[in-house]
Amino acid sequence: MTASIATSQTILVVGGGISGMTAALEAAECGKQVILAEKTPTLGGRTAQLYRYFPKMCHPTCGLEINLKRIKGNPNVRVMAMTQVVEVTGSRGNYAVTLKVSPRYVTENCTACGKCGEAVTAEVPDAFNYGLGKVKAAYLPHAMAYPQRYVLDPSIVATPEGEKAKAACPVGAVDLGMSEETVEINVGAIVWATGWRPYDAAKIQPYGYDRFANVITSVEFERLADPHGPTGGKLLRPSDGKEAKNIAFIQCAGSRDENHLRHCSRICCMASLKQTQYVREACGDEGKSTIYYIDIRAIDRFEDFYQKVQADPTVSFVKSKVARIALNEANDNPILHGVDTEGYHRYATEHDLVVLAVGMEPEVTGVRLPDDIIVDSSLFIEGSKDGGMFGAGAASSPLDVNRAVQSATAASLRAIQVIHKTASTEAA
């Protein structure tokens, strides 16, 4: 590919989650040329992996459908999946960007008919379900994956399994010879919407995520609750597949902790409040949710949702940072040890399942930020020295979806301003 696909009038958006899609679309619908580069094989990002949104309890895929429709119908956006930024040189108004496009081993001809998936037997961990399940090594990342094209896992490409997939494809879309591609483009402005990743819960040793099967993370819990998830929406705990009814939610799992993340991740309180309603949805009055917290940060009208959950008799709150988790070896139940600091009540409480409300940290794997980028002490992007690159959404700060979209829309206009200034100076 050549640089001609983009000019100093083009905006590059890095990251195809809800923030990246928003930044790209808002600019495109203003008539600007946009390249949307996404590292994974599909758009949607972390929000596509959520079951419901707080506080409306609506489904993220609903908004995703609209955004995908906007993308399909808009010639100004060029989507590049499996694409990462390798290097950025130049400056505001005129950046030279090197992109690395990983091989998908499936061409544009793919019709998502699914024959290759039927043909191969090899399985790989299901990334979409945070590895909770397995998926065929020739797969469609998820039901709303866009581009709607299958992917071959590199592990089978050079094996008979790869050949099976190739043989099974009725339209010859499987190309085992595909190799990594490097693309050079010129753009005028860059929006970094590289998003977040859940903090590695294993690092929080007192909670034994690495030792106890029934201690899981909040993002994994989203997949358990989702009918499209590995358990078909049933809250089955990992150790024995039994339905979990008495569930603990531990706030600040990594956040607000100088041993882990200095910052407050903002969303975790609301996420846990939301997830207590998954328990209600699944178990009705049988369910029991307990939230262990330091401060409940239900800001602005989210307070309404907090009050609603407080009124739910199946939900209780303990003002305490849990000290440690032990295991009841007889039944695999985690036992939470700590002190309720309101008053002072020592507890050693057993639960079927523990959900760690893990913090957000900026997703930086595979992303090499130019030195010109200004980041804060937790590596969230504040901006760039030359004012031509902008952070958007969770890459700029731990944000809920609504605020991430605001942030992305703002970043989109800042990028447009750069393009506009470049144009007018070039014209002059």
Partner: protein, 299 residues
């Protein structure tokens, strides 16, 4: 191969004829096998560990540790200071770091040290013997010396507090340190991976003042070792060893339990695995005899 030289800080309980006398004997064997030479710091003093604060306060406590550091600096220049007692190591390392952080404290400490004709530059690195074994010698070399693998011996690795917190052994987790289990594997014995009292405090500091409270801790530690099918407990700490071993009879008396769980040091395991005799390993020093280990030694 040239011997590795260290300024050695035995501490009160590891002196000859003191409560961890047997520990010291096994350490001698291990050092010989691994070409490690511990040069005792002349005229070292007590570190004032655990409850020294009560009367000693801050500066006096720091100063007595500073004295040991100063003596090491003066008499064994260039050598890291090594303790076998976690409490000694901790107190000394803490003192070193506190004096490093605060120039005013260091000045005050030196003002006091001068009374004893000493001066502290505070350049000595304070380390624990386990660190020396793992970082300077390494598991591979330690394993090469094993001539008599301790096959079939089931050991609950009781790490306790002070080799583990707040500093810990590099790369280990505070909640689930694995170095002791690795040592057990290294000598050919079987670690109790799921032993859940690994890092529980034995309450040693309160053994005398609050016996029932510390014995409650000990009971949990021993019970869990039985529950996980251990033949004996292994520990890196004198205070833990003494506490957990000696008070079992007390607990039996008071609570009608039938505890008789031997508690040994990692160096005793190594001594036997390296072909040493029960006596060389100081097994005659056990309060509760470690019969299975003695048998292996006799083979």
């Amino acid at each position: 191969m040239a011997k590795k030289q260290y300024a050695f800080y035995p501490g009160c309980s590891s002196q000859k004829k003191a409560s961890a006398d047997n520990f010291l004997r096994s350490i001698d064997v291990v050092c010989q096998k691994l070409d490690v030479q511990l040069n005792e710091i002349p005229d070292w003093n007590c570190c004032g560990a655990s409850i020294g604060y009560g009367e000693g306060g801050e500066l006096p406590r720091l100063v007595i540790s500073a004295r040991n550091l100063a003596l090491a600096e003066k008499n064994l220049p260039g050598q890291d200071m090594v303790s076998v007692c976690p409490a000694c190591w901790l107190a000394t390392r803490e003192a070193g770091e506190r004096l490093h952080e605060s120039d005013s404290l260091l000045a005050e400490a030196n003002e006091a040290l001068r009374e004893a004709g000493l001066d502290l530059k505070n350049e000595v690195k304070s380390r624990h013997f386990v660190e020396v074994l793992i970082e300077d010698v390494g598991f591979e070399v330690m394993q090469q010396q094993v001539v008599k693998p301790l096959e079939g011996l089931k050991l609950a690795g009781y790490v306790g507090c002070q080799t583990n917190r707040p500093f810990g052994i590099v790369g280990e987790s505070f909640e689930n340190p694995r170095y002791l289990d690795k040592m057990v594997e290294m000598v050919g014995a079987q670690p109790m991976e799921t032993y859940d009292q690994k890092v529980t405090c034995c309450g040693g500091a309160l053994a005398f003042s609050e016996p029932e409270k510390s014995q409650k801790q000990i009971r949990d530690i021993v019970e869990s070792a039985y529950d996980h099918g251990a033949d004996m407990i292994v520990t890196p700490c004198q205070l833990c060893q003494a506490n957990v071993e000696i008070y079992q009879s007390e607990i039996n008396k008071k609570q009608g339990t039938r505890f008789n769980m031997p508690v040994v040091y990692y160096t005793q395991l190594m001594t036997i695995a390296y072909g040493g005799s029960a006596t060389e390993a100081g097994l005659d020093g056990q309060f509760i005899r470690a019969e299975k280990l003695e048998k292996l030694a006799g083979k």
